[in-house]
């Protein structure tokens, strides 16, 4: 039910696009993808949520883990383009400040 697309931009930013649902099965794999990118030297990562149909609390957990992994390496993890379900989940869990969603993937590291 999920596929992860991974790209690195010319500015050295990793873009991870989960396509499908981010739940207890797929959240683990998101954690692995982030760890691999950081291990390969990419410590600024955008997670593009435009095609993530649904996210549950384990998806949130994987995003928080990814935030810590990137920050420990001197980088950061940012969310872009959340769907309405994902915005709702961020609000209900009070994580919309720490995982403040950005309107575009391109501009996610501009401020």
């Amino acid at each position: 039910m999920i596929e992860f697309k991974v790209e690195t931009t010319s500015r050295g930013i990793g873009v991870v696009t989960p396509v499908g649902r981010l739940n207890m099965v797929s959240a683990r794999r998101l954690g692995e993808v982030v760890t691999e990118l950081v291990g390969a030297g990419t410590n600024r990562i955008v997670v593009d949520m435009a095609q993530t149909d649904f996210m549950d609390s384990s998806g949130l957990g994987a995003l928080i883990a990814g935030l810590k992994t990137t920050r420990q390496a001197g980088g950061d993890l940012r969310l872009a383009c959340p769907t309405e379900q994902i915005q709702t989940v961020l609000e209900l869990t009070n994580l919309n400040k720490v995982l403040r969603p950005r309107p575009t993937v391109e501009g996610a590291f501009d401020a």
Partner: protein, 145 residues
């Protein structure tokens, strides 16, 4: 068969496994097909809570069983009527030892522990009771007028 033309009920009995979560998403989709007038925000609140409870059943109620144990079952019934959305779950797993009235959102850097707090925050009512060897969960979401 209930009388009201605007009631849809879907239900499911299956093995409690990780992929039951995907199955339940499909079941929720069939609920919306039967009740296409449910607002997006109510769909989101309800589906979010339903999937968290399902994940809790798979993760906690069966956690002690280990790899070799199979045969754990659950059933779930989802109902949409003009005023509310209701889900009821039953499973024969271990009892839930958590007091829902004290569930709270963990700190922002926690990597887990948000499941039931999120379910509870999403809907109007989340309830649990144990009856004999069966766990019962119920979720109620009042629809926006």
């Amino acid at each position: 068969m209930p009388d009201d033309a605007s009631v849809t009920r879907v239900s499911l009995e299956a093995a409690a496994r990780e992929d039951s979560v995907d199955l339940l998403h499909t079941l929720v989709a069939s609920l919306w097909e039967g009740s296409p007038d449910v607002a997006m925000i109510d769909r989101i609140r309800f589906e979010t809570a339903v999937i968290e409870v399902m994940a809790n059943i798979v993760e906690h109620a069966y956690a002690i069983d280990g790899e070799g144990v199979t045969g754990r079952r659950f059933d779930v019934s989802l109902l949409a009527d003009p005023t509310s959305l209701v889900a009821t779950f039953a499973d024969d797993g271990r009892p839930c030892e958590i007091d829902l009235s004290t569930v709270s959102m963990p700190g922002y850097d926690a990597e887990s522990g948000r499941g039931l707090a999120l379910a509870s925050a999403a809907v109007d009512d989340l309830a649990y009771h144990r009856d004999g060897v069966i766990n019962h969960w119920s979720i109620t979401c009042r629809r926006q007028p």
